[in-house]
Amino acid sequence: MQEFNLELMIKELEVLMGDKLRIGSDQFFAVLNIESNMLTVLMTKLRDEYGFNHLANLSSVDYGEEFELVYHLYSIPDNKKLLVKTRVPRTSAELDSLITIWPTADWQEREVYDLMGIKFKAHPNLIRVLLPEDFEGHPLRKDFVMGGRS
């Protein structure tokens, strides 16, 4: 197998995805910002062609107008890493589920749905995972009103 080259991979993906993909980086990760409708295409490629077989972490952040989904990808055993981010508007917080690419997305997506209220299309069992079924609201949203039970 060819030696893994992060820059080469990014170049190839840039050609393929065009303006749907913005490349960035921080101190720790190379960051791929992808438009949410292209997420599944990108992730399938990352797993099948570039060997990112370990979706370590799937989480979300509330930025007011938009939610940001973060996916920390690694590969076992090579230990290369990548951060993929995508944003969905607050008014229609919905994007594709990754459960068919990495089954480990199952409960992690349920948790994001449970605590932040983002819906995952085609998730077969999108129900709350940590909070009771009859709980109202999504506590990790910044506009969630906290208060004790009366």
Partner: protein, 366 residues
């Protein structure tokens, strides 16, 4: 032909074999498990939301309560994540103390895992040996932080205080006794035919499934994959130590159980080297009273905890409190595979599989 109905058996949340508030709903076809539905959240404390209202230092004790059986490991992971975010360097002596505390926690956690498996499968005596030896580690924790179960001895920038007199001899004598302890566990249980029969071939987790489901830690290594973050992505000073990564190839319950026993020995080796190499000096960097990372900066830091890959994802908005904090809990992710490895087995295998997956509910429910 006899007709059989599908019926459900609820295990937990109040049941000794569920290791905390785990509720497993087994869908049974006769004696065969068709599916297991896992219900979580019985010990949900919303630790991620709490983090948004606490300063970085105030949050340290909350992390100890994630994995209360390996208390120093989640604290270590959190402190390192914050240090990464702020670019804080930790003094050498503190690094060594941290490694000793982390590995002692790993041993304590594995001792609970293997001895609780004993009581789950009816080998009640097995519980006593693990608990007896774990007590010595609890005493060592008490010497350092004053707390036995929920120690917040590791702090951002180093550790809370220097190790007291008597710490090193106590750790040394413990380390010397580790091979004997392992022999005892092995002699008592591993070699027992009935024990092996309850575990062998039960809950087989293939390496492919393990990776697909994000399983990490001893559970992954029992499926033959030598992936350990202390080696793959060493935090702190782990790259300085010599140790092996124990693996097994079967991926069944017995393998998961044995990997943990083997890891106790490796942790002992690491502690020995850390005791030898520990220099004198500062035990903590001078850390400002109010920590304010750069706005917009974020970090994902992961360590090899006793249960697997424990990750902290922290986003800063420049204030003294995290804008967002997410815990990637290995127990949460590992439990996802429980239905997969139970399908097609008999009911008592469910108990074996819960025990050998070794989830901790404080962490999975957060």
């Amino acid at each position: 032909m006899l007709e059989s109905d599908i019926y459900t058996v609820n295990v937990g949340p109040i049941h000794p074999s569920t290791h905390g508030g785990l509720h497993a709903e087994a869908i049974m076809d006769g004696e065969i498990i068709e599916n297991v539905i896992v219900h979580l959240g019985y010990v949900h404390r919303s630790v991620e939301k709490i983090a948004e209202g606490k300063t970085y230092q105030q949050y340290v004790p909350y992390t100890a309560r994630l994995d209360y059986l390996a208390t120093n490991l989640p604290v270590l992971g959190y402190c390192q994540a914050v240090e990464k975010l702020l670019g804080i360097e930790v003094p050498e002596r503190a690094q060594y103390i941290r490694v000793i505390m982390a590995e002692l926690s790993r041993i304590a956690s594995h001792q609970i895992a293997i001895s609780a498996t004993g009581i789950d499968l009816g080998a009640t005596t097995g519980l006593m040996y693990g608990m007896r030896d774990r007590e010595r580690i609890m005493n060592i924790f008490e010497m350092t932080g004053g707390q036995r179960l929920l120690s917040s001895y590791i702090r951002i920038g180093g550790v809370a205080a220097d190790i007291p007199d008597g710490f090193i001899p106590a750790v040394m004598s413990l380390v010397q006794d580790i091979p004997g302890m392992m022999d005892e566990y092995n002699g008592l249980m591993t070699g027992n035919e009935i024990w092996a029969a309850r575990m062998q071939g039960v809950g087989i987790l293939t390496p492919e499934t393990a990776i697909q489901y994000g399983v990490t830690g001893p559970n992954l290594r029992a499926s033959g994959i030598a992936y350990d973050l202390r080696r793959a992505e060493p935090d702190g000073i782990y790259h300085r130590f010599e140790f092996d990564i124990p693996t097994r190839n079967g991926g069944d319950s017995l393998d998961r159980w044995q990997v943990r026993i083997d890891e106790i020995g490796e942790s002992g080796r690491i502690i020995e080297q850390a005791l030898e190499g520990m220099p004198n000096g500062e035990i903590s960097t001078r850390v400002p009273k109010v920590l304010k990372p750069e706005p917009g900066k974020e970090v994902y830091h992961r360590i090899e905890s006793a249960k697997g890959e424990l990750g902290y994802y922290i986003v800063s908005d420049g204030s003294s409190k995290p804008y967002r904090l997410h815990v990637r809990a290995p127990s949460f992710i590992n439990l996802m595979v429980l239905p997969v490895i139970c399908r097609g087995g008999v009911f008592q295998d469910l108990i074996t599989n819960i025990a050998t997956l070794d989830p901790i509910l404080g962490e999975s429910d957060r």
